[in-house]
Symmetry: C2
């Protein structure tokens, strides 16, 4: 925490910004997640794990890497991979170089699922997010958002 005393109160504009963002934070993830599950696809958290895996070298990642990529705790990732493994979309492979380590590997079925699922995901993201942003603002916005989380 910072100083805590003598913090400058929010201006009206700041207040509006914070309210809008917290509303977005509250509403959007649920909306996209619902779109996906209603379309018969995986929940967003599991889908994102697959996406990260699909982009990785050999479609394989250490559990800790994957957790970091998804901004989830390691234990959370353990359970997500467990669910994905049950569905046969991912396989857990003990790490050769380090016997403690586990790798999550995207299976062929996982890749296939991703091929089927991405249009639904993309459509949802377009509808909820991108359709509301004018192109000229896109980069500014991205920069601001990135700065908010670079500390982590």
């Amino acid at each position: 925490m910072t100083t805590q005393e003598g913090v400058q109160p929010m201006s009206a504009a700041e207040e509006a910004f914070v309210r809008a963002l917290s509303r977005v934070l509250q509403v959007l993830p649920r909306a996209v997640d619902q779109d996906m599950t209603r379309a018969g696809q995986l929940p967003l958290s599991e889908y994102m794990a697959l996406v990260h895996l699909s982009e990785a070298q050999d479609r394989l990642m250490r559990m800790s890497e994957l957790a970091a990529a998804c901004d989830l705790s390691l234990s959370g990732m353990t359970r997500i991979v467990a669910r994905l493994e049950q569905r046969g979309l991912v396989q857990r492979v003990r790490c050769e170089a380090d016997g403690r380590g586990a790798n999550a590997v995207l299976t062929e079925a996982g890749l296939q699922h991703l091929r089927e699922a991405w249009p639904a995901h993309l459509a949802s993201v377009r509808r909820h997010l991108l359709d509301h942003v004018e192109g000229e603002h896109l980069e500014t916005l991205t920069q601001v958002l990135q700065r908010m989380v670079t500390a982590y």
Copy 2:
């Protein structure tokens, strides 16, 4: 869901934007929440309920209003108010005009808690959000965010 077939793929800029936003979505609420609980205050969800109540006429709101204001389900709000009531920060009062309805009323203790808690909340919000936004972008950003959630 929208059409689902023939959705336009994302440009690199769009992709970056979506990733940045989803990272923010994932990380920021937890960060602020942790700041508040570490500062010995209520979790963010309960704090926000108090804030909304404090701004209401007679510091009193119907459960359903409050749930809508906080973007939570009614059942979720039932539980939050139950927790707040246990701490004596809120009181539940049957609605006079409509015997089914329940009002949540902010108690004096609740108001007092709010007076103590807001600096911590404000500091956290400044640190995580506002410090990263230059004034000139604030309004643009607010507009975009507002448009994203006006549908709900």
